[in-house]
């Protein structure tokens, strides 16, 4: 997918996105980070064709999204919305998961198989006959995640996938997304949770006030404290812990593994086995 000079202005004149350009290659796992209001969600809605740019273009495999029909775009790009309540309406979880699949034109068998598979993946298979709107918020969230992943599009955009989830549900969701992405699909994860970004993605795009201010490897970006500060973001908790502890090499600590490595380094730079 490629985005060129994307600019988007709201009806009331507010500039939401300005001159955004970047490429997305197949199989990449990209994190989209930035403050509230920086335009992350708006950008996602451009990537799946819901919003049309005021200026600039979005191309999928060389074709302009603006010229594609809804079904064509949705066949290739999926979007998980932040708020699960904005889409749940069916009388059972299974039906809810089938809604999108039916729109894609799959056979009933295919739909049943996929629904089961992804329900199991998100550990909600026991809730198959319950009405999704009657479930707790975290479970409603898992239902929407399962519904989106089940559509198995080539590119999937996930807006705050772990929001509303408790610790265990969060782990389930993250594992599911990791497994999903490992099969060669492209994912874009929008999140405030830097640890999640560090966990799931290898490339990060930083937005600030509608502009793209950085685009590079997740590790580099999350280590760049100055950049993070400018963008109104905090480093991963482990990163902050490392700098608070004043460990040698704390600048490069992003994940728990990094921390362990740094802690195990002896004074001479050699690694001390714990």
């Amino acid at each position: 997918m490629s985005v060129s000079d994307l600019t988007y202005v709201y009806e009331d004149g507010t500039l939401a996105l300005e001159d955004i350009s970047f490429e997305i290659s197949k199989g990449e796992r990209i994190g989209l980070i930035g403050e509230n209001g920086s335009g992350k969600t708006t950008l996602c809605k451009h990537l799946n064709g819901i919003l049309r740019p005021s200026k600039g273009r979005v191309l999928i495999e060389g074709r302009d999204i603006a010229e594609m029909s809804i079904s064509e775009v949705v066949g290739k790009v999926g979007l998980l919305f932040q708020n699960p309540d904005n889409q749940l309406f069916c009388s059972t979880v299974t039906e809810e998961m089938s809604f999108g699949l039916r729109n894609l034109g799959l056979t009933e068998d295919e739909i049943a198989t996929r629904s089961q598979r992804y329900a199991r993946l998100l550990r909600i298979d026991g809730l198959a006959e319950r009405p999704p709107l009657m479930l707790s918020l975290g479970l409603r969230r898992l239902v929407t995640i399962a519904s989106v992943l089940a559509m198995e599009q080539d590119i999937v955009l996930l807006d705050e996938p772990t929001a509303w989830l408790d610790r265990f549900q969060s782990r389930t969701a993250t594992d599911a997304i990791k497994g999903f992405a490992s099969s060669g699909r492209t994912i874009v994860v929008v999140s405030h949770n830097m640890k999640l970004i560090a966990d799931l993605t290898e490339r990060a795009v930083v937005l600030s006030r509608g502009r793209k201010i950085a685009d590079g490897s997740t590790r580099e970006i999350l280590a760049d404290k100055e950049l993070l500060r400018r963008a109104g973001l905090s480093p991963t908790p482990v990163s902050e812990l490392a700098s608070d502890l004043g460990i040698a090499g704390h600048e490069r600590v992003i994940t728990e593994d990094d921390l362990i490595t740094a802690l195990c380094r002896g004074r001479d730079g050699g690694v001390v086995r714990p």
Partner: protein, 182 residues
């Protein structure tokens, strides 16, 4: 109403939200291809309110919700709208209440929306045909009312249809709504 006591916080909240919902739906316009007109889904919400919350909430939210939208878009109909929408909701709600256990639910609801729809169609017909041209000895009003008829009929019909689908849908997907019934 007429019972002297104030509404409970729950009633106030439910009525307030229903007013907002009726008004919202009245703004949803669906084009009729044959004519260049539109109809709105406000009816659907009034009947929905009648079935879930009863005649009082339905009547009031209909009159106030649709009334507000008329006030800003078509005040020439305001007196009619307030009375007609209240009656629609009240009658549909009464029918649903009275016949609740006596017959098949779908049949009862179908009858309720038919009666409510009839009130709407006849109400506006009378208003356009006789009230608007009051004082003029003419049947031109009848002509205008006939012109507006297909539009009103489709609105009543589709409103009833959608209301029934909605109620069935909500009862299956969000049964908790019953907790709010006052």
């Amino acid at each position: 109403m007429g019972d002297g006591r104030l509404m409970s916080p729950r009633e106030i909240a439910v009525l307030g939200i229903m007013i907002a919902l009726v008004a919202t739906m009245t703004l949803i316009l669906i084009p009729i291809p044959a004519t260049k007109g539109y109809f709105n889904l406000g009816e659907a919400m009034i009947f929905f309110a009648a079935f879930i919350f009863g005649r009082r909430i339905a009547g009031l939210s209909g009159a106030i919700g649709a009334g507000f939208i008329d006030a800003i878009a078509a005040p020439q109909f305001l007196p009619a709208t307030i009375l007609i929408k209240f009656a629609e909701g009240y009658v549909a709600g009464t029918i649903a209440d009275v016949l609740r256990e006596r017959a098949n639910e779908q049949v009862v609801r179908a009858f309720a929306v038919e009666m409510g729809g009839a009130i709407m169609i006849i109400g506006y017909f009378i208003y356009e045909a006789f009230v608007l041209p009051l004082g003029f000895d003419t049947s031109a009003g009848i002509g205008v009312a006939i012109i507006e008829l297909p539009w009103n009929i489709s609105q009543a019909f589709i409103g009833g249809l959608i209301a029934m689908l909605l109620v069935t849908g909500i009862e299956k997907s969000y049964p908790r709504i019953r907790d709010l019934k006052t």
